[in-house]
Symmetry: C2
Subunit: 323 residues, 2 copies
DNA sequence: AGGGCTTATGCTCAGATTTAGCATAAAGAT
DNA sequence: ATCTTTATGCTAAATCTGAGCATAAGCCCT
């Protein structure tokens, strides 16, 4: 019953995340002078038993890394996503995966690169980053009134775009929702404030137009944005942060990782109170040394919390986790 | 660079949900005497521009229905999922979608069927359903101690299984997490308390073994469980319920839909207070008639709430939405 | 050894939210 | 008229949150 006028290939992308030095990092492969790509591998339909096993397999082969926590993100199947596909008689469908690891030495040509190199507007730990006020807001305003190209701009279109921009970027009185990473990236794509829409059309970037963040090859920055959206959402109701931490850690270490991922600063004492009360961690009775300051107690993740609470995660201010 | 020892076909499954008479229902196609399947359609790699457009297209063709809210769920790519694939030199990868609609008359051979026919243990609105105490708990206890087959059962295996069962089903003092729909189904699959593991191996169900819930063809019940998991999770932080309600509705109607989806009862006065304070709805000044009792005011969804709050959704008791 | 710096940790207080009910209002049914 | 049913207002107690004060316990420098 299935008739196809062309063939389909299924590929797998991995967003492999680690947090080091208070910066979330992603494993990327150099692609050309300015751009990187995510690690990519095919599904061998005749061999791999499951998609996830296929992914683990070629990540192991390519990087020597054994993935722990792995979660499926999203399947991207738009036509013409790959510039090379244009002529094509094959259709590429890719399944994106998120993997959380502790950073390790790399043997291949892959390298760790900060998430926020690609999505600088997402890091609000030191207040709203300069790029937002200096570049994004004025150019988004242009986008709202002018639209992406030079098509018709009815009053309704302008209102719609303003609403979408306000909601996504917390402008015009709306509040900033740290989870809307993907919405924001897609809006910037549509507004042509990132380089990818030009690359996708094989056009040069206009000289007068600034580009936000470091570009990636293909649609990989979209996949990256999807990963960060998912991770920020999930942190509140599943104990995923611990995948990124060593077995024992101080509460400040934990807080720094949560801050790095969520892109916002947290109140220290309240964070402590929340985490300790939540039952997510237990003290080990051991203390770290050489951290400069009073030595902190080391904690470990309490696996039992999964039994006790419906959706255990780390609370964020203004956005309480579900108790 | 991509070499395949067999070809891949991408298919699309739709979980189309409506809520009528306080029961969530799903659109299914009769498959054989006892089983239904989800609507299914192929991706035509040469034609359909996006996966979602492909889905909307064949749903329109097959059922005459125009989908509104559509969201991608998960991509299923395990080998040997389709019994017929065994011989096969093609690999089927399916992308599952969730669609929310208001129930309408059907013209095709598709029909609406209650969600909880397939997943009866998920409906706890009238307390724990009988099937849990009568059948699931005793047989899960057997599964914990004996394992799925007759393999080695070390002490560690038993402990692991007990922990997983306790967490998934809220047994042994653990609390019930309404979102863990998929975990529960997968555990029942592994414990062989649903018919699918037998069908997948083309074996008959042992006569002495009860089967929980109505089976579906292929792995469609797993997709259904994924859909309910997602929907239950999402209801708390995105205003998705309104996709299932008419334009104006009473607060009790809204509450009944939330209860139907979440499978639990809510405190009426508190639900009202929460919803009204959340800014999700606004009164219309109109009142319904003929509802038997004091006529309720009719409300409508306030689209502006998206601007005002980071993640607007309907609160659940014990599981407050994020404010 | 003591002062200053840093980080850790205990504690408090006011305000907001949540839970669980009580109580009244307004329809239709008997 | 009374009963039943649904809607809606209101409250007290318990809990949680946001913000900040204060002390503890290391290190570094002089």
């Amino acid at each position: 019953v299935i008739e196809a006028s062309a063939s389909t290939v299924v590929g797998l992308n991995a967003v492999i995340v680690a947090v080091t030095d208070e910066a979330p990092r992603v494993l990327v492969i150099p692609h050309d002078r300015e751009r990187d790509s995510l690690p990519f591998g095919p599904l061998d339909p005749g061999r791999d038993r499951t998609l996830e096993l296929a992914l683990r397999g070629w990540v192991r082969e390519q990087t020597g890394m054994e993935l722990g926590y792995v979660e499926q993100l999203y399947t991207f199947g738009d036509r013409w996503r790959h510039p090379g596909e244009r002529d094509g008689d094959h259709r590429l469908v890719t399944v994106g995966y998120l993997a959380l690891v502790r950073e390790e030495r790399l043997t291949s040509d892959a390298r760790w690169r900060p998430f926020y190199d690609y999505l600088p507007w997402e890091d609000r730990r030191d207040g709203r980053p300069a790029v937002v006020g200096d570049m994004l807001e004025p150019w988004l305003e242009t986008f709202i009134t002018q639209g992406p190209g030079f098509g018709a701009k009815t009053r309704g279109d302008v209102r719609d775009r303003r609403e979408r921009v306000d909601i996504a970027f917390g402008m015009g009185g709306a509040s900033w929702d740290s989870d809307r990473v993907l919405d924001r990236y897609e809006l910037l794509y549509e507004a042509r404030l990132v380089a990818e829409p030009f690359a996708d059309r094989e056009r040069p970037v206009p000289a007068d137009r600034p580009m936000a963040g470091r570009a990636m090859a293909y649609d990989h920055r979209r996949i990256l944005a999807t990963a960060l959206s998912r991770l920020r959402g999930k942190i509140r109701y599943r104990p995923v942060v611990f995948e990124l931490l060593p077995d024992t850690f101080s509460l400040l270490q934990l807080q720094r990782v949560v801050e790095a991922l969520s892109g916002m600063r947290l109140h220290k004492q309240n964070f402590r109170r929340l985490v300790e009360k939540s039952g997510l961690v237990e003290g080990t009775g051991q203390f770290a040394t050489g951290t400069g300051g009073r030595p902190p107690e080391l904690f470990r993740f309490r696996r039992d919390v999964l039994r006790e609470r419906p959706s255990p995660g780390v609370g964020l201010p203004g956005l309480p986790g579900r108790q």
